[in-house]
């Protein structure tokens, strides 16, 4: 049997076609009418049951808000880590006996080293005032009669140079007491971030799966409650597309509303974390602030929620239609 294609109308025996058949323009308007019908009937369903709709949208919205919030959090963390990681500088703590002129001489020498991009000197006074931003240490240093800090040369390696190797080479210079490159500290940060990322991915997978399940399950149960209606429409000659359309619109509405809810929740979360993050950043003397959602992000989230709603509805209706195929 050949499946019926778009030409089906012409195939029907003329003597039985007593219902006037529309032309191309009218067929377009019929198509538009059908969609308008689905749109209105799905909207009507949503409006007629504010409580049920609210529940469904709340569940979906929360399911979407969580991976969204998690994603935002990870983004901020990566940004922060990036800021820290960018600093490839090596700190050279000079011997206490090296004075200002010795330090300047070293700066000149190092400035000519091809592996070094730039050298900045920090005098013991600068170091002291920097440490003094910490109230604990400030009190301690204030108690000292003389500044015990050495001169420090902050070396930025040239682009292609391995900072660890350079750090080791410079550490061997006679003027240098200690070369600090923080490789260990960086390794720890990376391990911590890897751990965070692993936990976040685990949670995101669960949450993404959860969101899809929630949408699919909700539409499935909605369909189950209307199985009779679907069967009747099929018996009256409604095609799979005709049956599917109102549910797809319903899924899209759910997705859209849930997306709006998820965005609101994410914004609220962002807002409520703003103050403690700022406090934390201030305690480190930094000026890190949560960036939040861009308009593009927001549209992306809405689009994704909409798509998810559509997909959940599509899968659920498809499953229903397939299951009830034999019976019809």
């Amino acid at each position: 049997m050949k499946p019926a294609k778009r030409t089906r109308r012409r195939r029907e025996p003329k003597n039985q076609v007593r219902v006037s058949r529309p032309g191309l323009r009218q067929r377009l308007s019929v198509w538009r009418d059908l969609h308008a019908y689905s749109l209105v009937s799905s909207l009507g369903r949503i409006v007629a049951r504010p409580f049920a709709t609210g529940l469904t949208v709340a569940v979906m919205g929360i399911a979407l808000a969580l991976p969204l919030g998690l994603g935002l959090l990870l983004g901020e963390l990566e940004r922060l880590a990036g800021q820290w990681r960018e600093s490839r500088d090596i700190g050279l703590y000079l011997r206490v006996e090296v004075d200002a002129s010795g330090a300047r001489a070293l700066q000149d020498t190092l400035g000519r080293d091809p592996e070094v991009a730039s050298v900045v000197l920090r005098s013991p006074d600068e170091g002291l005032s920097e440490l003094a931003t910490d109230p604990d240490l400030a009190a301690m240093f204030a108690a000292l009669e003389s500044n015990p800090l050495p001169w420090v040369a902050v070396v930025t390696p040239a682009a292609a140079v391995d900072p660890a190797a350079l750090s080791e080479r410079l550490g061997a210079l006679p003027e240098v007491e200690l070369a600090q490159h923080d490789a260990a500290w960086r390794a720890r940060l990376n391990a911590l971030l890897a751990l965070g990322r692993r936990a976040a991915i685990l949670a995101a997978v669960l949450l993404g799966l959860g969101a899809l399940l929630v949408v699919g399950n909700t539409v499935r149960l909605d369909i189950q409650a209307r199985a009779d209606e679907i069967t009747t429409v099929q018996l009256l000659g409604g095609s799979d597309g005709f049956v599917r359309r109102p549910f797809l619109y319903l899924g899209v509405w759910y997705g859209l509303l849930a997306g709006v809810l998820a965005l609101s929740l994410a914004l609220a979360g962002n807002w409520s974390l703003q103050a403690p993050v700022a406090a934390l950043a201030a305690s480190y003397g930094g000026d890190f602030a949560l960036r939040g959602l861009s308009a593009a992000d927001a549209f992306g989230v809405l689009g994704l929620a909409l798509l998810l709603g559509w997909l959940g509805a599509f899968l659920a209706v498809g499953h229903h239609l397939r299951r009830h195929r034999q019976a019809n």
Partner: protein, 225 residues
Amino acid sequence: MLRFDQVSKRYPNGQLALDGVDFSLDAGELVFLTGHSGAGKSTILKLIGLIERPSRGAVLLDGQNLGQASRRRIPHLRRRIGMVFQDHRLLLERSVYDNVALPLLIAGHPPREVGKRVRHALDKVGLGERERSLPGTLSTGEQQRVGIARAIVAQPPLLIADEPTGNLDPTLSVEIMDLFLALPAQGTTVLVASHDLHLIRNLNRRVLVLDKGRLIDDYRPGVAA
């Protein structure tokens, strides 16, 4: 236009509902189908409406074997058959008007035409004033008449009706039967399953009689009278 060719139907649970049923309807004929409860009347109508498929034999509509209709073709075939269901099958969340308009909507009729046709069909079954009601607020007989209006609204070439007067009082039953009797003149072939032997006898039309899934009589008034 409709032919049953040695059709048997055995349901999945082993129940043999039809056993070698053989008959045919000409275009524009009106035929009654009768028999005891569980004789297989609804099963015959379900085979025509592609709700069930025959276990053996063939059901031919305009020469096409319904048992082999592809899945995609079924909706188009169903749109050419008006069906009155024994259990009405109305959409409970839609108004009477929307229920009756549904076949027109599915077939894609221009909205202008729909309103006129729906009101005409509702008037025919005496429910012109209830078009805004929900089916749940109608009496059973009224619901049955909505089902009848929905079946005739698209003027299908074939109308099959399962016990259309089961919930109607005798006066209304006669009116509804008169409605069916007028359809063949418009070119519609009609097959009505009914227990109402009194009514059928008085109308003096062709009657198919089923007994335990077998066709035991094909009474034609022209032959018998």
